[in-house]
């Protein structure tokens, strides 16, 4: 068991009557990539501002390596944040930006430059960037400079406030992986905030999902995906099929909207709730194939998502989303049989 570097105990933050975050308990382990995910307004920005020391919690304690840091201001905490806007200094060159935390500590010019160039290299930027202006850098390059500056500070915990949100999809994907690599190389603790669970899945060791100022679930990406705590978490990952059901017998559930019956997970304790089946877990059954639950329908729409295709299939009173690998061609208007096995569905509280 590795030691915990950051611990939150019953942390709450109020702004007047407004409760921004409520009863937050979590523990981040040393060397972990921990991500806090939540939609906008879920309190994640308030969280990170308290974690770096720019706001104080109204109640509860924040512990860093076992010590209470509630009242320690940001400039005396061994942490550093990469801002959403990056907050690079426009009047300084790339090199001066990276050297900034070292300059504050009174490092000599030569040491600073050596370290800055070392960091540029680590982030796949050439030495030529050292003398460049920040305004001459592209979005992705600025991102790397901001990260280099934070690494130059050599923090015990590195915080990220959605720094990739302004970049285009491909660049974001590249940088997500680079960030994960750098975290592995440096062995530092990264705490990352994002609204995209997809982004969190790629990078994180553990994910905490927030909603309305509270933590809904903390778990590994695998747990979040396969054992979501409730339908909010399940939907957060992407589009899902959900059915309002009540239990008929051990593994049979009655859809309260359409009166269809489905075979669901037998071990669920709930008597009623939401039955969730992810689009990629529903199969379009070929002749002779069988599944626990089978429904007949008509293909209504087809959306190509890149490597996968999503079909909207009309069944008696509703439509279902089904995803398959590209290449399985079903035409719009075609009649199909859908099916899923009981272990592909999960029953969650409403």
């Amino acid at each position: 068991m590795t030691e915990s570097i950051l611990e939150l105990q019953n942390v709450e933050k109020y702004f007047g009557d407004f409760v921004a975050v409520e009863r937050i308990n979590l523990e981040v382990k040393k060397g972990e990539f921990f991500t806090i995910v939540g939609p906008s307004g879920s309190g994640k920005t308030t969280m990170i501002r308290m974690l770096v020391g720019m706001d104080k919690p109204s109640r509860g304690d924040i512990l860093m390596s076992g010590e209470r840091v509630n009242d320690v201001p940001a400039n005396r905490r061994p942490t550093c944040m990469v801002f959403q806007s990056l907050a690079l200094f426009p009047h300084k060159t790339v090199g001066e930006n990276i050297e900034f935390p070292l300059k504050l500590r009174g490092e000599t010019k030569n040491n600073r430059k050596t370290r800055a160039i070392q960091l540029l290299e680590q982030l796949h930027l050439t030495e030529a960037y050292y003398a460049k202006k920040v305004s001459e850098c592209s979005g992705g390059e600025k991102q790397r400079v901001a990260l280099a500056r934070a690494l130059a500070f050599d923090p015990e915990i590195l915080f990220f406030d959605e720094p990739l949100s302004a970049l285009d999809y491909r660049l974001r994907k590249t940088l997500e992986k680079e960030l994960k690599d750098i975290q592995r190389q440096t062995g530092k603790t990264f705490v990352y905030i994002t609204h995209s669970l997809e982004e969190a899945m790629v990078m994180s060791d553990r994910i905490s999902i927030m909603r309305d100022g509270r933590i809904v679930q903390i778990g590994t990406p695998d747990e979040i995906y396969n054992k979501p705590a409730n339908s909010f978490v399940a939907q957060f990952m992407g589009e899902v099929n959900q059915f309002n059901v009540t239990r008929q017998d051990d593994a049979r559930f009655l859809d309260t909207d359409t009166q269809d019956t489905y075979v669901g997970p037998p071990d669920a304790d709930l008597q009623s709730g939401v039955l969730i089946v992810r689009p990629e877990r529903i199969q379009i059954l070929a002749e002779g194939e069988a599944a626990d639950t089978e429904i007949a329908g008509t293909v209504q729409n087809q959306y190509v998502l890149g490597s996968r295709v999503q079909y909207e299939v009309k069944v008696t009173k509703r439509s279902l989303l089904v995803e398959t690998m590209i290449g399985d061609a079903w035409n719009v208007g075609e009649s199909v049989r859908l099916g899923w096995n009981s272990d592909q569905a999960f029953l969650l509280a409403r």
């Binding site: 940001a74 400039n75 944040m81 504050l104």
Partner: protein
């Protein structure tokens, strides 16, 4: 260009092309001039351009021409002479210039120090509140001379301040009027808004995130000021310095009313030359030198500032 010359080197073909090019260069220039007038806005700018030339460039030109005319003359169709400038250097006018520049420098420096905290509060704490801005601008609605006489009444022997302390405590205050410090006080008081508002604009241009990032990386309050706020607010500070420096350089009432002739500034000399002395050419020569001096100082400052560079940053 003809085809065969293409196969030779560039130096071979250029002597043939040169005369032909010269002929067309004039055509091109005429066409370019006509094209300039066809740009959007070019014709619309003409009235403003005319007013600018007639109202600003014209009088300025007249002043320069007058400065080259013989002493105490009122016509400018005589032979140009430099005798006015010789007079200026012989008769100790440099003292007045020195006073003007020195007072402008001192006032500007004091204004920087006084205005920084006020501008900081105005742009960061009060978020450029309308009421506060109005209160700060309000004195500008009252004539400068009236406000300066207000100071005179306040600081005068047996005036508001001295009279009050005498009656209440029997204290006799030392003479406060008619010296250099009180002149500077008047200048700082009158030109405060011209430093304050550009400066507060400059401060509001400093992104909050930059300030927080520096703080987060361990900067002390002083380091945030030195490394982030001051350089990023510099365009505003420079504009404020420029305005107050130039205004003090050309000011006259503060030295006259509060300074009570203890200090003769160059603007006072210019006024005297034009009015009592009836020596327009000398006054013009003094003005021309002042304009040159201001231009040298201002252009020197502006070239170091590189406004475009600072303002186009993202």
């Amino acid at each position: 260009m003809n085809m065969p010359s293409k196969s030779y080197s560039v130096t071979d073909s250029s002597p043939e092309r040169l005369p032909e090019n010269r002929g067309s260069a004039l055509n091109i220039r005429v066409r370019n001039t006509l094209l300039w007038f066809r740009q959007p806005g070019a014709l619309l700018s003409l009235p403003a351009l005319l007013i600018f030339v007639a109202g600003f460039i014209g009088p300025l030109g007249l002043v320069v021409i007058y400065s080259l005319m013989p002493e105490r003359s009122f016509a400018f169709n005589q032979l140009p002479t430099l005798e006015n400038f010789v007079t200026i250097f012989q008769e100790g006018y440099y003292i007045s210039y020195a006073w003007s520049v020195w007072l402008a420098l001192v006032s500007t420096l004091i204004l920087i120090v006084i205005c920084w905290p006020v501008a900081y509060g105005l742009s960061r704490i009060f978020r450029r509140s309308m009421i506060l801005t109005l209160l700060l601008v309000l004195p500008l609605f009252v004539s400068e001379n009236v406000r300066l006489f207000g100071w005179v009444l306040t600081l005068l022997n047996h005036g508001i301040l001295d009279g009050t302390t005498r009656t209440l405590f029997g204290w006799e205050l030392p003479d406060m009027l008619y010296n250099a410090p009180v002149t500077v006080l008047g200048m700082v008081y009158v030109y405060l808004p011209f430093m304050l508002f550009p400066m507060s604009l400059g401060i509001s241009m400093v992104p909050d995130a930059c300030r927080e990032a520096a703080f987060d990386m361990g900067a002390t309050r002083w380091q945030v000021f030195k490394e982030v706020e001051l350089p990023l607010a510099m365009p505003g500070i420079m504009i404020g310095c420029l305005l107050s420096f130039v205004l003090v350089l050309g000011s006259i009432s503060e030295a006259k009313i509060l300074g009570g002739q203890s200090i003769i500034m160059i603007s006072h000399d210019i006024e005297t030359a034009f009015t009592y002395a009836q020596n327009w050419p000398l006054g013009s020569a003094l003005s021309t030198l002042l304009i040159l001096l201001t231009a040298v100082l201002v252009i020197g400052l502006l070239s170091r500032l590189n406004l475009d560079n600072l303002l186009s940053r993202k």
